[in-house]
Amino acid sequence: MIRIIEPGPQTTVQDGGRRGQLRYGIPPSGPVDARSFTLGNRLVGNADGAAGLEFTLIGPRLRAETSCTIAVTGAESPVTVNDAPAAAWTTLTLAAGDVVRIGPARSGVRGYVAFAGGIDVPAVLGSRATYLRGRLGGLEGRALRRDDVLRLGAAGPVRRRAMAARAIPDWRAEPVLRVVLGPQADRFTDEGIADFLAGAYEVLPQSDRMGARLSGPRITHAGGHDIISDGIALGAVQVPGDGQPIVLLVDRQSTGGYTKIATVCSFDIPRVGQAKPGQRVRFSAVDVAEAQQLSRTAVVDVANVELQEIAS
């Protein structure tokens, strides 16, 4: 059992995400940075989609009411256990009464805390993920508050392991996001597409789990910027009339009527979600076949990330 002493600005329960509900207008939710989330679960011996916490910019302070095993991944944040520095991307064993504090992110935006056994909240529509705008899932459909208590699922013994340093992402680098042009690239001028692929776009502070709002060279439409409303995929780069792109993320609206110039590939979504306000991103086009080859490779890479045994 875990007690939240300080939740941080926005900490939610997330799991692998909700499937099959987009046709009812309910987004998948789940972690914005699925790679860091999955690796956290692997460090505590869970299935990839087990429920854990996602925090935003500043991590929570929490107390283990019973002994448990955790791992902190994602954004680069200082971690302490009873005020002594502890390692991120590493299996940590807590005794009853231990207090874990996760400080402000030095780089990256979203951090994850995985718990062996997973967080035991009711599954809603097949998932424990929190959809904040819809007040659905997680703990009462909301972000965590002080004194919330989270029960954990049963867990067996966990091997203590640390992720190889070279597999830990560097969130400071300016990311180049691979995109597949379309579905509505034909609604933009050649210059509009060229500017989109050549420019640097700054992440705006209004960004959230619904979408990353960007500011940079104006992307010019050919004809109007409205279309007959259609589905919005994960990573869709929507360009409204002001020519400034928005990359739609896990809590996105299911459908919409703005043109989408391109779609950020799934394996680069973590990079979008970890870019801080003020940080710049760039876009680079790949074709669908190449994107899907890279996608398959990314899945294999996560499965093969080296976790080194550490002495207890």
Binding site: Y24, D230, T263, C265
Partner: protein, 235 residues
């Protein structure tokens, strides 16, 4: 028919370039056929007016192969019989504070407000798809006489349950949200209720009718909805 990639995990099948019952029916038929065939690699589908978005696992099937598998289904969609549509009755209290645009809309349409209500409640509406916010239906079906441009200035906040018209469309807001439709009334039913066992009331393809209720019945139904003991009329 047009296939459009939407990144590495999704594609869009466009079956037309217009908002019409015919095109949308084919979109929903294609979705039905994909479900019937249990097409390997398909994760989920999202119908809209004239396109079906298909989410899939590229580890199971690639873009080109999926387009090839979908092509005969899309061709078959025009002649596919789907299970009969559900008919859902939405009680609606028109006018006053629950429908603040009833009088102005009636003036704009050169109708009496009673006539507007009679025409609106007398029609049957088709749910083309659900989208934008959880459980929000995109519908048409009102007589052409009720076609009206959207509000010049959209409202910042429209209460959930509000029934509005704009263009040829009719919509029921499922959560408190901004909106540009003329608000004729409100239903006490919850189109989205995160606390319910089945949070979503309407489905793509449903037929919807509004039943005019007075304020006392609205309040009574709202009370029963809040207590979790109201069963919507679904046939």
């Amino acid at each position: 028919m047009r296939f459009l990639p939407a990144g590495d995990l999704a594609l869009s099948v466009e079956l037309g370039d217009e908002i019409s019952v015919g095109v949308n029916t084919r979109v929903r038929a294609l979705e039905f056929l994909i479900e019937q065939k249990a097409l390997a690699g398909v994760v989920e589908t999202v119908p809209t007016y004239r396109a079906l978005q298909v989410y899939y696992d590229p580890g199971v099937i690639g873009y080109e192969a999926l387009c090839r598998a979908l092509t005969p289904l899309a061709e078959q969609a025009a002649a596919t019989a789907m299970p009969p549509a559900r008919e859902v009755e939405l009680p609606c209290c028109y006018g006053d504070d629950l429908g603040p645009d009833l009088e102005p809309a009636a003036r704009r349409l050169e109708l009496s407000s009673d006539e507007l209500v009679r025409l609106h409640a007398g029609a049957e509406y088709l749910v083309y798809f659900i989208g934008f916010t959880p459980g929000l239906p995109y519908m048409t079906g009102a007589p052409a006489r009720l076609t009206i441009p959207r509000l010049d200035t959209p409202r910042v906040k429209v209460p959930a349950g509000s029934v509005g018209i704009g263009g040829i469309q009719c919509c029921v807001y499922s959560v408190d949200s901004p909106g540009g439709f003329w608000l004729l009334g409100r239903t006490p039913l919850r189109l989205y209720d995160p606390a319910a066992a089945e949070p979503i009331l309407l489905k793509p393809g449903d037929r919807v009718r509004f039943r005019r209720v007075e304020r006392a019945e609205f309040d009574d139904i709202a009370g029963r909805v809040a207590a979790g003991v109201f069963r919507p009329v679904v046939r």
